[in-house]
Protein backbone atom coordinates (compact mmCIF):
# COMPACT_ATOMS: atom_id res chain seq x y z
CA UNK A 1 0.00 0.00 0.00
CA UNK A 2 1.16 3.50 -0.79
CA UNK A 3 -0.59 6.11 1.30
CA UNK A 4 -0.21 9.85 0.97
CA UNK A 5 -2.06 12.01 3.49
CA UNK A 6 -2.61 15.75 3.39
CA UNK A 7 0.15 16.38 0.86
CA UNK A 8 0.95 20.02 0.28
CA UNK A 9 3.47 21.25 -2.24
CA UNK A 10 4.35 24.87 -2.78
CA UNK A 11 6.50 26.23 -5.55
CA UNK A 12 7.32 29.81 -4.70
CA UNK A 13 4.07 31.13 -3.26
CA UNK A 14 1.78 29.06 -5.47
CA UNK A 15 0.21 25.98 -3.87
CA UNK A 16 0.54 23.24 -6.49
CA UNK A 17 -0.96 20.59 -4.25
CA UNK A 18 -3.29 21.67 -1.50
CA UNK A 19 -3.94 18.90 0.99
CA UNK A 20 -4.14 15.84 -1.24
CA UNK A 21 -5.00 12.36 0.04
CA UNK A 22 -4.07 9.47 -2.20
CA UNK A 23 -3.85 5.71 -1.83
CA UNK A 24 -2.74 2.94 -4.15
CA UNK A 25 -3.06 -0.76 -3.49
CA UNK A 26 -0.72 -3.51 -4.59
CA UNK A 27 -2.14 -5.82 -7.25
CA UNK A 28 -3.71 -2.86 -9.02
CA UNK A 29 -2.79 -0.40 -11.74
CA UNK A 30 -3.65 3.00 -10.29
CA UNK A 31 -3.88 5.82 -12.81
CA UNK A 32 -3.56 9.48 -11.92
CA UNK A 33 -5.29 11.66 -14.51
CA UNK A 34 -6.11 15.32 -14.81
CA UNK A 35 -5.60 18.35 -17.04
CA UNK A 36 -2.24 20.01 -17.68
CA UNK A 37 -0.93 21.81 -14.63
CA UNK A 38 -3.42 20.12 -12.31
CA UNK A 39 -0.64 18.75 -10.10
CA UNK A 40 -0.67 15.08 -11.12
CA UNK A 41 3.04 14.95 -11.91
CA UNK A 42 3.72 16.98 -8.78
CA UNK A 43 1.81 14.38 -6.75
CA UNK A 44 3.97 11.62 -8.21
CA UNK A 45 7.12 13.63 -7.59
CA UNK A 46 6.08 14.13 -3.97
CA UNK A 47 5.53 10.39 -3.58
CA UNK A 48 8.98 9.75 -5.08
CA UNK A 49 10.44 12.38 -2.73
CA UNK A 50 11.86 14.43 -5.58
CA UNK A 51 10.49 17.77 -4.42
CA UNK A 52 9.92 19.31 -0.99
CA UNK A 53 6.47 18.42 0.38
CA UNK A 54 4.62 18.34 3.68
CA UNK A 55 2.24 15.69 4.94
CA UNK A 56 2.59 11.93 5.38
CA UNK A 57 3.72 9.43 2.76
CA UNK A 58 4.22 5.76 3.50
CA UNK A 59 5.14 2.80 1.34
CA UNK A 60 4.15 -0.65 2.63
CA UNK A 61 3.27 0.84 5.99
CA UNK A 62 6.62 2.54 6.54
CA UNK A 63 7.09 6.30 6.26
CA UNK A 64 9.40 7.11 3.33
CA UNK A 65 11.59 9.19 5.61
CA UNK A 66 12.48 5.99 7.47
CA UNK A 67 13.82 4.27 4.36
CA UNK A 68 17.48 4.53 3.43
CA UNK A 69 18.15 5.53 -0.18
CA UNK A 70 19.05 1.99 -1.25
CA UNK A 71 16.10 0.46 0.64
CA UNK A 72 13.75 2.77 -1.20
CA UNK A 73 15.44 1.84 -4.48
CA UNK A 74 14.79 -1.83 -3.71
CA UNK A 75 11.09 -1.26 -3.08
CA UNK A 76 10.15 1.08 -5.91
CA UNK A 77 11.34 2.08 -9.37
CA UNK A 78 10.62 5.52 -10.80
CA UNK A 79 10.22 6.54 -14.43
CA UNK A 80 10.37 10.32 -14.87
CA UNK A 81 8.56 12.08 -17.69
CA UNK A 82 11.80 12.92 -19.45
CA UNK A 83 15.11 11.44 -18.45
CA UNK A 84 18.24 12.82 -20.02
CA UNK A 85 21.49 10.99 -20.47
CA UNK A 86 25.01 12.34 -20.50
CA UNK A 87 27.75 10.42 -22.32
CA UNK A 88 27.35 7.83 -25.09
CA UNK A 89 26.10 4.81 -23.17
CA UNK A 90 24.63 1.88 -25.08
CA UNK A 91 21.07 0.71 -24.44
CA UNK A 92 22.14 -2.33 -22.44
CA UNK A 93 24.46 -0.18 -20.31
CA UNK A 94 21.57 2.13 -19.47
CA UNK A 95 19.30 -0.78 -18.56
CA UNK A 96 22.04 -2.30 -16.39
CA UNK A 97 22.07 0.91 -14.33
CA UNK A 98 18.77 -0.34 -12.92
CA UNK A 99 20.51 -3.39 -11.53
CA UNK A 100 21.19 -1.95 -8.12
CA UNK A 101 22.75 -3.93 -5.33
CA UNK A 102 19.38 -5.38 -4.33
CA UNK A 103 19.16 -7.50 -7.48
CA UNK A 104 20.52 -11.02 -7.29
CA UNK A 105 21.07 -13.78 -9.81
CA UNK A 106 21.87 -13.46 -13.49
CA UNK A 107 22.15 -9.71 -13.92
CA UNK A 108 22.96 -9.70 -17.62
CA UNK A 109 20.11 -12.06 -18.43
CA UNK A 110 17.76 -9.78 -16.54
CA UNK A 111 18.70 -6.68 -18.54
CA UNK A 112 18.09 -8.49 -21.83
CA UNK A 113 14.82 -9.94 -20.52
CA UNK A 114 13.65 -6.47 -19.53
CA UNK A 115 14.48 -5.15 -23.00
CA UNK A 116 12.47 -7.99 -24.54
CA UNK A 117 9.56 -7.11 -22.26
CA UNK A 118 9.40 -3.57 -23.69
CA UNK A 119 9.91 -4.73 -27.28
CA UNK A 120 13.56 -3.70 -27.63
CA UNK A 121 15.24 -7.07 -28.18
CA UNK A 122 18.24 -6.66 -30.42
CA UNK A 123 18.77 -3.03 -29.36
CA UNK A 124 21.35 -3.93 -26.71
CA UNK A 125 24.41 -2.47 -28.41
CA UNK A 126 22.78 0.53 -30.04
CA UNK A 127 23.76 3.92 -28.66
CA UNK A 128 20.99 5.20 -26.42
CA UNK A 129 21.19 8.71 -27.80
CA UNK A 130 20.58 7.39 -31.32
CA UNK A 131 17.19 5.90 -30.40
CA UNK A 132 13.92 7.69 -31.14
CA UNK A 133 12.04 9.34 -28.29
CA UNK A 134 9.64 6.44 -27.88
CA UNK A 135 12.44 3.90 -27.93
CA UNK A 136 14.36 5.86 -25.32
CA UNK A 137 11.30 5.92 -23.12
CA UNK A 138 10.89 2.16 -23.42
CA UNK A 139 14.59 1.63 -22.69
CA UNK A 140 14.20 3.71 -19.52
CA UNK A 141 11.17 1.64 -18.59
CA UNK A 142 13.27 -1.52 -19.05
CA UNK A 143 15.80 0.00 -16.65
CA UNK A 144 13.05 0.66 -14.10
CA UNK A 145 11.64 -2.87 -14.55
CA UNK A 146 15.13 -4.30 -13.87
CA UNK A 147 15.32 -2.37 -10.63
CA UNK A 148 12.19 -4.01 -9.19
CA UNK A 149 12.01 -7.09 -11.41
CA UNK A 150 10.16 -9.40 -9.01
CA UNK A 151 6.80 -7.76 -8.15
CA UNK A 152 6.98 -9.21 -4.64
CA UNK A 153 10.13 -9.41 -2.56
CA UNK A 154 10.23 -10.79 0.98
CA UNK A 155 6.42 -10.86 0.91
CA UNK A 156 6.35 -7.10 0.38
CA UNK A 157 4.90 -5.71 -2.85
CA UNK A 158 7.23 -3.60 -4.96
CA UNK A 159 6.14 -0.54 -6.90
CA UNK A 160 6.44 1.01 -10.32
CA UNK A 161 5.91 4.79 -10.17
CA UNK A 162 5.63 6.04 -13.72
CA UNK A 163 5.11 9.50 -15.13
CA UNK A 164 3.33 9.18 -18.48
CA UNK A 165 4.97 5.86 -19.38
CA UNK A 166 3.33 5.69 -22.81
CA UNK A 167 3.18 9.40 -23.71
CA UNK A 168 5.49 9.24 -26.74
CA UNK A 169 4.71 5.68 -27.87
CA UNK A 170 2.80 4.51 -30.91
CA UNK A 171 -0.49 2.74 -30.29
CA UNK A 172 0.96 -0.78 -30.59
CA UNK A 173 3.68 -0.13 -28.05
CA UNK A 174 1.22 1.68 -25.79
CA UNK A 175 -0.75 -1.53 -25.57
CA UNK A 176 2.39 -3.62 -25.09
CA UNK A 177 3.57 -1.45 -22.21
CA UNK A 178 0.15 -1.22 -20.57
CA UNK A 179 -0.20 -5.01 -20.70
CA UNK A 180 3.24 -5.29 -19.17
CA UNK A 181 2.13 -3.00 -16.32
CA UNK A 182 -1.11 -4.97 -15.86
CA UNK A 183 0.92 -8.17 -15.70
CA UNK A 184 3.17 -6.63 -13.02
CA UNK A 185 0.11 -5.79 -10.93
CA UNK A 186 -1.47 -9.24 -11.47
CA UNK A 187 1.65 -10.81 -10.05
CA UNK A 188 1.27 -8.82 -6.84
CA UNK A 189 3.21 -5.62 -7.51
CA UNK A 190 1.81 -2.12 -7.41
CA UNK A 191 1.71 0.30 -10.34
CA UNK A 192 1.02 4.03 -10.17
CA UNK A 193 0.99 5.76 -13.53
CA UNK A 194 0.30 9.37 -14.41
CA UNK A 195 -1.74 9.05 -17.60
CA UNK A 196 -2.84 11.37 -20.33
CA UNK A 197 -4.92 9.05 -22.48
CA UNK A 198 -8.29 8.53 -20.80
CA UNK A 199 -9.33 5.62 -23.04
CA UNK A 200 -6.12 3.75 -22.39
CA UNK A 201 -6.65 4.48 -18.70
CA UNK A 202 -10.19 3.12 -18.87
CA UNK A 203 -8.91 -0.01 -20.57
CA UNK A 204 -6.11 -1.00 -18.18
CA UNK A 205 -6.46 0.85 -14.90
CA UNK A 206 -8.00 -0.82 -11.87
CA UNK A 207 -8.29 2.43 -9.94
CA UNK A 208 -8.31 6.04 -11.05
CA UNK A 209 -7.54 9.26 -9.23
CA UNK A 210 -8.55 12.54 -10.86
CA UNK A 211 -6.49 15.55 -9.87
CA UNK A 212 -7.65 19.04 -10.75
CA UNK A 213 -6.53 22.44 -9.50
CA UNK A 214 -4.21 20.92 -6.93
CA UNK A 215 -6.82 18.68 -5.32
CA UNK A 216 -8.05 15.13 -5.72
CA UNK A 217 -11.58 15.49 -7.10
CA UNK A 218 -12.45 11.81 -7.52
CA UNK A 219 -10.90 8.52 -6.56
CA UNK A 220 -12.10 4.94 -7.07
CA UNK A 221 -12.80 2.28 -9.69
CA UNK A 222 -12.88 3.09 -13.40
CA UNK A 223 -16.69 2.81 -13.66
CA UNK A 224 -17.22 5.05 -10.66
CA UNK A 225 -14.77 7.76 -11.48
CA UNK A 226 -14.67 8.05 -15.25
CA UNK A 227 -18.11 9.56 -15.78
CA UNK A 228 -19.41 12.54 -17.71
CA UNK A 229 -19.72 14.80 -14.75
CA UNK A 230 -16.40 14.30 -12.97
CA UNK A 231 -14.39 14.35 -16.20
CA UNK A 232 -16.15 17.37 -17.69
CA UNK A 233 -15.71 19.31 -14.50
CA UNK A 234 -12.06 18.30 -14.03
CA UNK A 235 -11.04 19.02 -17.62
CA UNK A 236 -13.36 22.02 -17.91
CA UNK A 237 -14.87 20.89 -21.21
CA UNK A 238 -17.72 18.69 -22.29
CA UNK A 239 -16.88 15.02 -22.25
CA UNK A 240 -19.16 12.03 -22.81
CA UNK A 241 -18.38 8.58 -21.54
CA UNK A 242 -20.01 5.49 -22.86
CA UNK A 243 -19.81 1.72 -22.60
CA UNK A 244 -20.15 -0.31 -25.78
CA UNK A 245 -22.79 -3.02 -25.59
CA UNK A 246 -20.44 -5.98 -26.22
CA UNK A 247 -18.02 -5.23 -23.41
CA UNK A 248 -18.02 -3.35 -20.17
CA UNK A 249 -15.12 -1.22 -21.28
CA UNK A 250 -15.68 2.46 -20.73
CA UNK A 251 -14.61 4.95 -23.42
CA UNK A 252 -14.49 8.71 -23.51
CA UNK A 253 -15.43 10.92 -26.44
CA UNK A 254 -14.62 14.61 -26.52
CA UNK A 255 -17.54 16.74 -27.68
CA UNK A 256 -16.85 19.73 -29.87
CA UNK A 257 -18.59 22.73 -28.32
CA UNK A 258 -21.18 23.37 -31.03
CA UNK A 259 -22.43 19.77 -31.12
CA UNK A 260 -22.46 19.31 -27.37
CA UNK A 261 -25.94 18.17 -26.49
CA UNK A 262 -26.09 19.22 -22.87
Amino acid sequence: MIEATNIKVKIGKAAILDGVNFTAEPGKVTAIVGPNGSGKTTLLRAITDEIPWTGQISINGKSIGDYKAWELAAVRGVLPQAATLAFPFTVIEVVRMGLTSGVHGNKDGLASQALARVGLSGYEDRFFQELSGGEQQRAHLARVLCQVWEPVLDRQPRWLLLDEPVASLDIGHQLLIMRCLQDYARRGGGVIAVMHDLNLTAMVADAVTIVARGRVVAQGGVQDVLNDQSLSSAYDCTLRTNTPPISDMRYVLPQAAETAGS
Binding site: T48, D49, E50, A69, W70, E71, L72, A73, A74, G77, V78, P80, A83, T84, L85, A86, F87, P88, F89, T90, E93, V94, M97, G98, T100, S101, G102, D125, Q147
Partner: protein, 357 residues
Protein backbone atom coordinates in the same frame (compact mmCIF):
# COMPACT_ATOMS: atom_id res chain seq x y z
CA UNK B 1 34.54 -12.93 -50.24
CA UNK B 2 34.62 -9.54 -51.98
CA UNK B 3 35.22 -6.23 -50.35
CA UNK B 4 31.55 -5.35 -50.78
CA UNK B 5 30.53 -8.48 -48.86
CA UNK B 6 32.80 -7.44 -46.06
CA UNK B 7 31.21 -4.03 -45.86
CA UNK B 8 27.67 -5.33 -45.54
CA UNK B 9 28.41 -7.58 -42.59
CA UNK B 10 26.84 -5.86 -39.58
CA UNK B 11 29.44 -4.71 -37.15
CA UNK B 12 29.07 -6.85 -34.08
CA UNK B 13 30.16 -4.65 -31.24
CA UNK B 14 32.13 -6.57 -28.68
CA UNK B 15 30.77 -6.14 -25.18
CA UNK B 16 32.51 -2.96 -24.14
CA UNK B 17 32.94 -4.14 -20.57
CA UNK B 18 35.20 -6.94 -21.74
CA UNK B 19 37.16 -4.54 -23.87
CA UNK B 20 37.46 -2.02 -21.05
CA UNK B 21 38.67 -4.66 -18.60
CA UNK B 22 41.19 -5.95 -21.08
CA UNK B 23 42.35 -2.34 -21.45
CA UNK B 24 43.37 -2.40 -17.75
CA UNK B 25 46.05 -4.93 -18.66
CA UNK B 26 47.18 -3.23 -21.87
CA UNK B 27 47.40 0.17 -20.22
CA UNK B 28 49.26 -1.23 -17.21
CA UNK B 29 51.77 -2.85 -19.57
CA UNK B 30 52.13 0.41 -21.52
CA UNK B 31 52.69 2.29 -18.28
CA UNK B 32 55.36 -0.20 -17.23
CA UNK B 33 57.21 0.21 -20.54
CA UNK B 34 56.97 4.01 -20.37
CA UNK B 35 58.19 3.95 -16.78
CA UNK B 36 61.27 1.95 -17.76
CA UNK B 37 61.90 4.30 -20.69
CA UNK B 38 61.58 7.24 -18.35
CA UNK B 39 64.16 5.76 -15.99
CA UNK B 40 66.47 4.99 -18.89
CA UNK B 41 66.27 8.41 -20.55
CA UNK B 42 68.06 11.59 -19.62
CA UNK B 43 70.59 14.11 -20.77
CA UNK B 44 73.47 12.68 -18.69
CA UNK B 45 73.73 9.45 -20.62
CA UNK B 46 73.65 7.42 -17.42
CA UNK B 47 72.64 3.89 -18.37
CA UNK B 48 69.84 2.21 -16.47
CA UNK B 49 70.92 -1.13 -17.90
CA UNK B 50 74.54 -0.64 -16.86
CA UNK B 51 73.40 0.16 -13.34
CA UNK B 52 71.03 -2.81 -13.22
CA UNK B 53 73.83 -5.07 -14.45
CA UNK B 54 76.02 -3.80 -11.66
CA UNK B 55 73.28 -4.41 -9.10
CA UNK B 56 72.96 -8.02 -10.29
CA UNK B 57 76.68 -8.70 -10.25
CA UNK B 58 77.00 -6.96 -6.90
CA UNK B 59 79.32 -4.27 -8.26
CA UNK B 60 79.34 -0.82 -6.62
CA UNK B 61 77.33 1.89 -8.40
CA UNK B 62 79.19 5.09 -9.18
CA UNK B 63 78.04 8.17 -7.29
CA UNK B 64 76.81 9.59 -10.59
CA UNK B 65 74.67 6.55 -11.24
CA UNK B 66 73.22 6.59 -7.76
CA UNK B 67 72.42 10.29 -7.85
CA UNK B 68 70.97 10.30 -11.35
CA UNK B 69 68.90 7.15 -11.05
CA UNK B 70 67.93 7.14 -7.39
CA UNK B 71 67.81 10.82 -6.48
CA UNK B 72 66.70 12.37 -9.77
CA UNK B 73 64.98 9.98 -12.15
CA UNK B 74 63.14 7.70 -9.73
CA UNK B 75 61.36 10.41 -7.70
CA UNK B 76 60.58 12.15 -10.97
CA UNK B 77 59.12 8.92 -12.32
CA UNK B 78 56.91 8.37 -9.28
CA UNK B 79 55.80 11.98 -9.15
CA UNK B 80 55.03 11.93 -12.88
CA UNK B 81 52.93 8.80 -12.51
CA UNK B 82 50.85 9.98 -9.58
CA UNK B 83 50.36 13.45 -11.04
CA UNK B 84 49.36 12.08 -14.45
CA UNK B 85 46.92 9.68 -12.76
CA UNK B 86 45.57 12.45 -10.56
CA UNK B 87 44.97 14.87 -13.45
CA UNK B 88 43.21 12.28 -15.60
CA UNK B 89 41.09 10.86 -12.79
CA UNK B 90 40.15 14.33 -11.52
CA UNK B 91 39.10 15.23 -15.05
CA UNK B 92 36.96 12.10 -15.40
CA UNK B 93 35.31 12.64 -12.00
CA UNK B 94 34.53 16.29 -12.74
CA UNK B 95 33.07 15.38 -16.13
CA UNK B 96 30.90 12.75 -14.47
CA UNK B 97 29.81 15.19 -11.78
CA UNK B 98 28.99 18.02 -14.19
CA UNK B 99 27.68 15.55 -16.78
CA UNK B 100 29.78 17.30 -19.36
CA UNK B 101 32.80 15.92 -21.22
CA UNK B 102 34.50 19.32 -21.21
CA UNK B 103 34.47 19.83 -17.44
CA UNK B 104 37.78 19.92 -15.63
CA UNK B 105 39.04 20.40 -12.06
CA UNK B 106 39.31 24.12 -12.70
CA UNK B 107 35.53 24.21 -12.24
CA UNK B 108 35.78 23.55 -8.51
CA UNK B 109 38.21 26.40 -8.18
CA UNK B 110 41.28 24.32 -7.37
CA UNK B 111 43.29 25.74 -10.24
CA UNK B 112 42.57 29.40 -9.54
CA UNK B 113 43.13 28.97 -5.81
CA UNK B 114 46.32 27.00 -6.23
CA UNK B 115 47.63 29.49 -8.77
CA UNK B 116 46.96 32.37 -6.42
CA UNK B 117 48.57 30.44 -3.58
CA UNK B 118 51.71 29.90 -5.65
CA UNK B 119 51.91 33.55 -6.65
CA UNK B 120 51.43 34.70 -3.07
CA UNK B 121 54.27 32.41 -2.00
CA UNK B 122 56.60 33.48 -4.79
CA UNK B 123 56.01 37.21 -4.47
CA UNK B 124 55.33 37.66 -0.76
CA UNK B 125 57.64 34.83 0.29
CA UNK B 126 60.51 37.21 -0.32
CA UNK B 127 59.22 39.37 2.53
CA UNK B 128 59.64 36.54 5.06
CA UNK B 129 62.58 36.73 7.44
CA UNK B 130 65.62 34.83 6.14
CA UNK B 131 65.58 32.22 8.94
CA UNK B 132 61.99 31.28 8.13
CA UNK B 133 62.75 31.13 4.43
CA UNK B 134 65.59 28.72 5.23
CA UNK B 135 63.18 26.40 7.01
CA UNK B 136 60.28 26.40 4.55
CA UNK B 137 62.58 26.81 1.57
CA UNK B 138 61.39 25.21 -1.60
CA UNK B 139 58.19 23.89 -0.11
CA UNK B 140 56.64 27.25 0.53
CA UNK B 141 55.25 27.46 -3.01
CA UNK B 142 53.89 23.91 -2.89
CA UNK B 143 52.21 24.31 0.48
CA UNK B 144 50.80 27.67 -0.38
CA UNK B 145 49.42 26.37 -3.69
CA UNK B 146 47.85 23.36 -1.99
CA UNK B 147 46.34 25.53 0.72
CA UNK B 148 45.00 27.98 -1.89
CA UNK B 149 43.43 25.18 -3.88
CA UNK B 150 41.68 23.71 -0.85
CA UNK B 151 40.53 27.05 0.46
CA UNK B 152 38.91 28.05 -2.82
CA UNK B 153 37.21 24.67 -3.17
CA UNK B 154 35.79 24.90 0.34
CA UNK B 155 34.53 28.43 -0.28
CA UNK B 156 32.88 27.33 -3.54
CA UNK B 157 31.35 24.29 -1.89
CA UNK B 158 29.92 26.39 0.93
CA UNK B 159 28.56 29.02 -1.41
CA UNK B 160 26.77 26.47 -3.58
CA UNK B 161 25.41 24.28 -0.79
CA UNK B 162 22.03 25.21 0.67
CA UNK B 163 20.08 23.00 3.07
CA UNK B 164 22.44 20.12 2.47
CA UNK B 165 22.05 20.24 -1.30
CA UNK B 166 24.94 21.26 -3.49
CA UNK B 167 23.91 22.97 -6.70
CA UNK B 168 26.33 22.04 -9.43
CA UNK B 169 25.11 24.93 -11.58
CA UNK B 170 25.72 27.49 -8.81
CA UNK B 171 29.14 25.98 -8.29
CA UNK B 172 29.97 26.49 -11.95
CA UNK B 173 28.91 30.15 -11.90
CA UNK B 174 30.46 30.93 -8.53
CA UNK B 175 33.63 29.22 -9.76
CA UNK B 176 33.86 31.67 -12.63
CA UNK B 177 33.42 34.61 -10.25
CA UNK B 178 35.98 33.25 -7.80
CA UNK B 179 38.38 32.55 -10.67
CA UNK B 180 38.09 36.15 -11.86
CA UNK B 181 38.72 37.41 -8.34
CA UNK B 182 41.75 35.17 -7.90
CA UNK B 183 42.98 36.34 -11.30
CA UNK B 184 42.67 39.98 -10.27
CA UNK B 185 44.54 39.45 -7.00
CA UNK B 186 47.18 37.49 -8.91
CA UNK B 187 47.43 40.42 -11.30
CA UNK B 188 48.15 42.83 -8.48
CA UNK B 189 50.86 40.55 -7.14
CA UNK B 190 52.36 40.07 -10.59
CA UNK B 191 52.46 43.84 -10.91
CA UNK B 192 54.42 44.01 -7.65
CA UNK B 193 56.81 41.20 -8.57
CA UNK B 194 60.44 41.75 -9.55
CA UNK B 195 62.06 40.19 -12.62
CA UNK B 196 63.24 37.00 -10.96
CA UNK B 197 59.83 36.43 -9.38
CA UNK B 198 58.15 36.99 -12.73
CA UNK B 199 60.39 34.34 -14.22
CA UNK B 200 59.56 31.90 -11.40
CA UNK B 201 55.86 32.62 -11.85
CA UNK B 202 55.96 32.04 -15.57
CA UNK B 203 57.73 28.73 -15.19
CA UNK B 204 55.43 27.62 -12.39
CA UNK B 205 52.50 28.26 -14.69
CA UNK B 206 54.01 26.07 -17.39
CA UNK B 207 54.36 23.14 -15.07
CA UNK B 208 57.38 20.96 -14.56
CA UNK B 209 58.49 17.76 -12.94
CA UNK B 210 62.07 19.01 -12.82
CA UNK B 211 61.94 19.80 -9.13
CA UNK B 212 60.99 16.26 -8.17
CA UNK B 213 62.59 15.15 -4.92
CA UNK B 214 61.90 12.31 -2.54
CA UNK B 215 60.55 14.86 -0.09
CA UNK B 216 57.91 15.96 -2.60
CA UNK B 217 57.10 12.35 -3.41
CA UNK B 218 56.55 11.56 0.26
CA UNK B 219 54.25 14.55 0.72
CA UNK B 220 52.23 14.32 -2.49
CA UNK B 221 52.14 10.66 -3.51
CA UNK B 222 50.19 9.24 -0.55
CA UNK B 223 47.58 12.00 -0.72
CA UNK B 224 47.13 11.64 -4.46
CA UNK B 225 47.23 7.85 -4.23
CA UNK B 226 44.43 7.76 -1.66
CA UNK B 227 42.32 10.21 -3.69
CA UNK B 228 42.81 8.27 -6.93
CA UNK B 229 41.97 4.90 -5.36
CA UNK B 230 38.97 6.44 -3.54
CA UNK B 231 37.67 7.71 -6.86
CA UNK B 232 37.38 4.11 -8.12
CA UNK B 233 34.49 3.65 -5.69
CA UNK B 234 32.51 6.47 -7.31
CA UNK B 235 32.02 4.55 -10.57
CA UNK B 236 28.47 3.28 -10.01
CA UNK B 237 27.36 6.60 -8.59
CA UNK B 238 28.74 8.63 -11.48
CA UNK B 239 27.12 6.24 -13.96
CA UNK B 240 23.77 6.82 -12.27
CA UNK B 241 24.38 10.56 -12.24
CA UNK B 242 24.57 10.45 -16.05
CA UNK B 243 20.77 9.99 -15.87
CA UNK B 244 20.37 13.18 -13.85
CA UNK B 245 20.36 13.80 -10.11
CA UNK B 246 16.75 12.84 -9.52
CA UNK B 247 17.00 9.54 -11.37
CA UNK B 248 20.30 8.75 -9.67
CA UNK B 249 18.55 9.19 -6.32
CA UNK B 250 15.74 6.86 -7.47
CA UNK B 251 18.40 4.26 -8.22
CA UNK B 252 19.40 4.35 -4.55
CA UNK B 253 22.47 6.54 -4.94
CA UNK B 254 23.12 9.03 -2.13
CA UNK B 255 23.62 11.91 -4.51
CA UNK B 256 24.70 14.51 -1.98
CA UNK B 257 27.31 12.18 -0.48
CA UNK B 258 28.53 11.36 -3.97
CA UNK B 259 28.88 15.02 -4.83
CA UNK B 260 30.83 15.94 -1.71
CA UNK B 261 33.07 12.88 -2.08
CA UNK B 262 33.78 13.74 -5.71
CA UNK B 263 34.59 17.37 -4.90
CA UNK B 264 36.88 16.45 -1.98
CA UNK B 265 38.69 13.83 -4.05
CA UNK B 266 39.27 16.24 -6.89
CA UNK B 267 40.36 19.05 -4.60
CA UNK B 268 42.83 16.75 -2.81
CA UNK B 269 44.26 15.09 -5.91
CA UNK B 270 44.46 18.18 -8.10
CA UNK B 271 45.54 20.44 -5.27
CA UNK B 272 48.47 18.18 -4.44
CA UNK B 273 49.36 17.67 -8.10
CA UNK B 274 49.31 21.36 -8.97
CA UNK B 275 51.19 22.20 -5.80
CA UNK B 276 54.21 20.06 -6.67
CA UNK B 277 54.21 20.36 -10.44
CA UNK B 278 52.54 23.66 -11.36
CA UNK B 279 49.93 23.97 -14.06
CA UNK B 280 49.76 21.00 -16.42
CA UNK B 281 46.84 21.22 -18.80
CA UNK B 282 44.76 19.00 -21.03
CA UNK B 283 45.55 15.58 -19.56
CA UNK B 284 42.30 15.81 -17.60
CA UNK B 285 40.18 16.37 -20.69
CA UNK B 286 41.98 14.39 -23.35
CA UNK B 287 42.53 11.14 -21.43
CA UNK B 288 38.92 10.49 -20.34
CA UNK B 289 37.68 11.48 -23.78
CA UNK B 290 39.97 9.07 -25.60
CA UNK B 291 38.98 6.28 -23.23
CA UNK B 292 35.27 6.97 -23.66
CA UNK B 293 35.72 6.68 -27.42
CA UNK B 294 37.68 3.45 -27.09
CA UNK B 295 35.88 1.56 -24.34
CA UNK B 296 32.75 3.50 -23.46
CA UNK B 297 31.73 5.87 -20.67
CA UNK B 298 31.23 3.30 -17.86
CA UNK B 299 32.98 4.97 -14.91
CA UNK B 300 33.69 1.65 -13.22
CA UNK B 301 36.32 0.93 -15.84
CA UNK B 302 36.90 4.49 -17.05
CA UNK B 303 38.41 5.72 -13.77
CA UNK B 304 41.11 3.03 -13.36
CA UNK B 305 41.91 3.24 -17.08
CA UNK B 306 42.16 7.02 -16.84
CA UNK B 307 44.62 6.67 -13.96
CA UNK B 308 46.80 4.31 -16.02
CA UNK B 309 46.64 6.28 -19.28
CA UNK B 310 47.07 9.63 -17.53
CA UNK B 311 50.20 8.35 -15.79
CA UNK B 312 51.54 6.96 -19.08
CA UNK B 313 50.88 10.13 -21.08
CA UNK B 314 52.43 12.40 -18.49
CA UNK B 315 55.54 10.23 -18.31
CA UNK B 316 55.66 10.26 -22.11
CA UNK B 317 55.34 14.04 -22.18
CA UNK B 318 58.05 14.26 -19.53
CA UNK B 319 60.41 12.14 -21.64
CA UNK B 320 59.79 14.45 -24.61
CA UNK B 321 60.28 17.53 -22.45
CA UNK B 322 63.65 16.20 -21.33
CA UNK B 323 64.91 15.16 -24.75
CA UNK B 324 63.60 17.71 -27.21
CA UNK B 325 66.03 20.52 -26.33
CA UNK B 326 68.51 18.46 -24.26
CA UNK B 327 70.47 19.19 -22.18
CA UNK B 328 67.94 21.93 -21.39
CA UNK B 329 64.35 21.03 -20.52
CA UNK B 330 61.07 22.23 -21.93
CA UNK B 331 58.40 22.78 -19.23
CA UNK B 332 56.09 19.78 -19.38
CA UNK B 333 52.98 21.98 -19.45
CA UNK B 334 54.10 23.19 -22.88
CA UNK B 335 54.42 19.62 -24.17
CA UNK B 336 50.99 18.56 -22.88
CA UNK B 337 49.44 21.74 -24.28
CA UNK B 338 51.05 21.32 -27.70
CA UNK B 339 49.83 17.73 -27.85
CA UNK B 340 46.57 18.28 -26.00
CA UNK B 341 45.24 21.50 -27.51
CA UNK B 342 44.70 20.09 -31.01
CA UNK B 343 42.90 17.09 -29.51
CA UNK B 344 40.74 19.40 -27.39
CA UNK B 345 39.86 21.42 -30.47
CA UNK B 346 38.98 18.24 -32.30
CA UNK B 347 36.62 17.24 -29.47
CA UNK B 348 34.85 20.59 -29.69
CA UNK B 349 34.49 20.54 -33.46
CA UNK B 350 33.37 16.93 -33.47
CA UNK B 351 30.70 17.67 -30.87
CA UNK B 352 29.33 20.43 -33.05
CA UNK B 353 29.37 18.15 -36.07
CA UNK B 354 31.93 20.34 -37.86
CA UNK B 355 34.28 17.43 -38.43
CA UNK B 356 33.24 13.84 -38.95
CA UNK B 357 36.31 11.87 -37.92
Amino acid sequence: MTVADNLTIPIQREDRRVKARRAHIWLAALLAVTAILSLATGPTGTSLWGALGKLITGEELTTMERVVLWDIRLPRLILGMVIGASLAVSGAVMQGLFRNPLADPGLVGVGAGAGLGAIVAIVLGALLPIWLRDIVGNYLVSFSAFFGGWLSTIILYRVSTRRGQTSVATMLLAGIALGALAGAVSGILVYMADDQQLRDLTFWGMGSLAGATWAKVIVAAPLIGIAVVASFFLGQGLNGLALGEATAAHLGISVQRLKSAAIMIVAGATGAAVAVSGGIGFIGIVVPHLLRLATGPDHDTLLPNAALLGATLLLGADIISRLIIAPAELPIGIVTAVLGAPVFLWILLRRRGLVEF
